[in-house]
């Protein structure tokens, strides 16, 4: 949700910037878009499609997530000249690093998870096992590699939508915002299209 909000805010900022500069806003020109669809497929079946996600073994899910993120990194490299893509790649690399170092899932501590679900539900999830059908795995901070890259950030307690996110997520959101907002600027000499 926070990542989608970054895209929407970026489009809004790009439209305002374009209006202010009296030029039209254009959607960023990206190449090899098909690669994103291919890369997303394993995640779609593993995390989003209810009919399949409960039947896929965790080992396949973690492998699929890693392969998917590698393909997304390739997409970033192929579109490296587009504005903000280097930030997308950086955020993705940070998430990939912590996920790869912790068995193919994003670690989340029981303390952080306790803000997202009631304690009685949390107690049913043994440490080291997946936290729902998402990308997260419940791990104590002492057992987590690159703990500073894990899902450890939370919005204020009175915020209506509670979500745990990582440093990589923040960088990805910034990159997505930049990618959209930069389209309202005058074109630079180096073309963003490949």
């Amino acid at each position: 949700m926070i990542l989608l909000a970054a895209i929407l805010l970026g489009i809004l900022a790009g439209l305002l910037l374009a209006r202010w500069r009296k030029r039209s806003w254009a959607f960023p020109t990206l190449g090899f878009v098909w690669l994103v669809f291919v890369a997303f497929l394993p995640q779609f079946f593993a995390f989003y499609l209810p009919a399949t996600r409960k039947h896929i073994p965790d080992s396949w899910v973690s492998a699929g997530l890693l392969v998917s993120q590698v393909l997304l990194l390739v997409f970033c490299w192929l579109n490296r000249r587009a504005p903000g893509v280097w930030l997308l790649a950086l955020g993705l690399s940070l998430n990939f690093l912590v996920i790869a170092a912790n068995g193919g899932f994003m670690p989340i501590s029981p303390q952080t998870a306790g803000r997202l679900v009631p304690q009685e539900i949390l107690q049913t999830v043994p440490p080291g096992s997946r936290f729902g059908y998402g990308k997260d795995i419940l791990l104590q901070p002492k057992d987590t590699r690159f703990v500073w890259l894990s899902d450890r950030f939370l919005p204020p307690e009175n915020f209506p939508y509670q979500v745990a996110f990582s440093l990589g997520d923040v960088v990805i959101a910034t990159g997505a915002f930049w990618l959209m907002a930069a389209q309202g600027k005058p074109p630079e000499k180096s073309s963003s299209s490949i």
């Binding site: 895209i7 997303f40 993705l92 679900v117 509670q162 745990a164 996110f165 997520d169 990805i172």
Partner: protein, 47 residues
């Protein structure tokens, strides 16, 4: 009814290749951030 159908036909004619490309690119960006990011809102979803 005829007018509505005519309007619908005119609207679909306006959807050109560029619109489809923009829609696909937007979908790709959405998929990218969903695939690259890993925020968790605690959807234990009956697991």
């Amino acid at each position: 009814m005829k007018t509505k159908l005519a309007n619908l036909f005119l609207f679909t004619q306006k959807i050109n290749r560029q619109h489809v490309q923009v829609a696909l690119a937007l979908l790709a960006v959405v998929m990218f951030v969903l695939g690259a990011g890993a925020p968790d809102s605690g959807g234990l979803g009956g697991r």
